[in-house]
Symmetry: D2
């Protein structure tokens, strides 16, 4: 069993589809290859950015198996689990474990606002159904459920609940978690536009979005911050911010797929009900991306700092 | 094909489970029988109140088939469709049509905040996959997606999109819809605590929650308002409000199942991740229900007003 | 001392200014005369709609004195009190009582989010500084402070706290107040777009905004509802809604002053920092008003129903 | 005329009152003396933390004059201007300029949600009424008005609008402002719990709250960050966070006054409608402060880094 380290950059990759909505595995693997070349530490499959809400369990397994087969010896391969029923989550987790997953990202129950105790019990029950390590996704803005400090306290005894994707937008939460739990839970920033800030405050890693189109710049910021080269990191990050803001948008999937096309490492088709970007919004996004690509910074040799 | 009238009371019924989480069809049908006796016009299966987020397609079909077999000649039997992918919605709709459903309640795509055009196209595509009539569910508070007037304008040409469950909490929306569309879309109030108000302002029906435990009182209010007996309706409604507020609560399912037990027409088990109510919150809810049951009003002969 | 009845329509009148920002008392009185002719029961001076945030105490007194002198024997004249410090509120209340005010509208402390106990004590202290009756203004949407039921419970022993301007937007609050307090506190709807709904549910009066430009239509709706002529009221109200929505807008003052100009009973100048409406927004509002004026309903003899 | 530098720490000091609500100037000056000893760069009088909503213009002038007389040669003395009417703001600004103020903090118009153009014009008009430099206060969370980038663009030509108190809670705004305006507007973090993060991202200064009770710790964090000693700063900041959170609370005034008492440099009385903290909330705050004081870190020689 591969040990997931929970630091560095973890792209939440987009799912590639053919025009008819079928999975496009070769295009999917091509993008992941670019991620690994850039130096990411793991891949998260089937997240929100991977159009989770349109993927069946079979789709998820197909993406997982292809990734493990191609890159399972080079990078952590994590599957996102976003289910409404506890039984459905366990079923998926157990199929994925057999299929070679290295770990999971786990959301609270979907489409229901549970009590704190229900959230805690859901996480515990799912965690106990697998030996693999788990990254919880704490995103009260989009999912209305906050994994509070008392919930984490309950979960501290579950050895395979190891990390949190911190997407509360409340950056003080990094400090609160460190004050309360030290290094018990690794903290991965889950909001592209807060990543440098949270890494500076002690976050361990970055579950990234725009990395899908700009893998090197993303990893460079991470490595520069960790090496204490803050001014250099800040220069890249300031350049990056208008692009990173495409992640903080209901059309983040479409934005990032378009960005991947413009940087040459992805494809654009999405599954219904999604449409690709059209009209003025498409123009606005293209302008931001063109401006960014035109002024792309020269990166230092960030793998050898 | 039964003609759905879209007026009167439509209970969004709870799903009955055994302690192990299996469907409990006899208990499910028993409650529906009480609804029909009280004078409701239709039954909505697998809504939020029916623990939609934990039901598989097979579960939904089993509930639907049993209801149609038992009561399909006495009442409208509608199935709730709450899916993330357009293909999944179509698949469910077509299975249900074959199984004898009379119509559908249809939510916008789940777990993704689509654009207005994506919402409109989703509804159109699903509507065109069936001959059955459809009630759209407009609940931006819980699902973050508002079906705006311009979206309804686009949908007016789809003959089988016939009604809306109005749960925006913005009661002026009843008047706006009537001003813009006259009777093109039937309006069913979807918020128990706003029902009398919206019926007075011209809403056609009531998709009700507490009706599951208090069917007669619910239908009585509807009939009294429609008969112009406002003072009589208001007296019952004022009595009912503290109980109706149990519907405006994240634990609405648990609240209403407990209410059904206390009025003798239901059972309490829920599916994980839900727990039944515990501790102080259970006491609080029981107190409200006990107070309400102790002061239950004597109803007029509301079926013959 | 005039007895304020707290039913019927109470216009929150706009303050009239000259182009240089000075008070324009004749224009102010002219509009009030139209209100009284239409059958309102009282006048509220210096409310939000009266550009409260730009009025000094001296301005308020000047408006009050002119109104009492001209119409004090025909209508209730109430002054709005919206202060940050308890001492400032008491000072204003006592000056106004000497100047002949019949009562007050009283907001919670401004520009500070107080605790419930601080709110209750503020109201009590101000109430005890005057013999005149008081209407509390409950508007948590705009002022972030809700006057909760427990606060009202504390205030029930203050005999001159007699009524509430209900602007919570939570229409169930009418029923909750009636259930808890019966007629102890008169309820005046403070949101134009919810007025008919709340009157139907038992509200006693209407603190109105668009009444400033459309006094007869406003009073007609009130009188028709109270006479049980709901269909007639509803027809006028449906016509009125697009105009009433001009009240639910940050530029409500400018909207309503423009409406007064278009119906011939007001003037448009506002005090800085406000500007009169310009550009597309001005066109949008004029269009709504023109459409409304063109289709103005013929009113029944609403004073003799 | 003293040149305000807009970097370093600017305490928004509390106003000291006697038990009867009168100003307590000696206690006020005593605290300021501790601030200056700790190394702050300026003092902001009459801010929200100074109970602005209860202060008359005369109160503000009295506080200003005493501070200028005592410390005007040692530190920047800025007056907060939070008015509803443009004329009232100008009147206060001009009185304060004559009284020896070095500059102003200026809020958008209070108690009215103006349009962006009204906000811009308000700031311009007030700025043109004085030669003194101005710090705008950008706090859409508490005041509902955001000073957007396009508004700042309009204001860039006003030479004495020099800085912004950044309290949007959207930390990306630091980067957006730097990307768009470079150093045209100095950025002072206005949220204690985001201060270290924003200083790391390039903010120039810190308008601080808990500094009132903990001046040395606050200045130490600022100086350590600016000297690149991030780990040392982070250690102090993590210790400080539970205390800093007392600033993000409706009772921030009461919390901070209690903290000042516990660190021996302030007094507790507040003006009505405020009460001092009572009951469980008082115990909760005392516990946080006692814990913090018991584990107070030993500071480095932060004035000579």
């Amino acid at each position: 069993m591969r040990t997931v380290k929970w630091n560095g950059v973890y792209p939440a990759v987009t799912t590639k589809f053919k025009e008819n909505g079928d999975l496009d595995i070769p295009a999917f693997l091509k993008n992941i290859e670019h991620q690994i070349d850039a130096g990411v530490n793991g891949i998260i499959i089937g997240g929100s950015l991977g159009e989770s809400s349109t993927l069946t369990h079979d789709d998820r397994l197909a993406l997982l198996e292809a990734t493990v087969a191609a890159f399972g010896d080079q990078t952590d391969v994590l599957l996102n689990v976003a289910e409404g029923a506890t039984t459905a989550a366990i079923e998926l987790v157990q199929r994925a474990e057999k299929a070679g997953a290295h770990g999971f990202m786990l959301l609270p129950p979907m489409m229901y606002k549970p009590t704190d105790q229900e959230v805690a019990d859901y996480f515990k029950t799912v965690a106990r159904s697998t030996k693999l390590p788990i990254l919880l996704y704490n995103n009260p803005v989009d999912y209305k459920i906050e994994i509070t400090l008392p919930i984490f306290e309950q979960l501290a005894s579950e050895a395979n609940i190891q990390a949190v994707k911190e997407s509360t937008r409340d950056i003080s939460n990094v400090t609160r978690m460190k004050n309360k739990f030290g290094d018990r839970f690794k903290i991965l920033c889950g909001v592209d536009t807060l990543a440098m800030e949270e890494l500076l405050m002690g976050a361990d890693g970055w579950v990234a979005g725009l990395v899908c189109a700009f893998p090197k710049e993303t990893v460079a910021i991470y490595e520069l911050v960790k090496a204490g080269k803050i001014d250099e990191a800040l220069e890249i990050y300031r350049w990056f911010l208008p692009i990173l803001e495409l992640d903080i948008n209901p059309q983040l999937v479409q934005n990032i797929k378009l960005a991947e096309v413009m940087t040459g490492i992805g494809t654009e088709p999405v599954r219904a009900p999604r449409h690709i970007l059209v009209g003025d919004e498409r123009k606005r996004v293209i302008k931001i991306l063109e401006d960014g690509i035109a002024s792309r910074p020269i990166l230092p040799d960030y793998k050898n700092l």
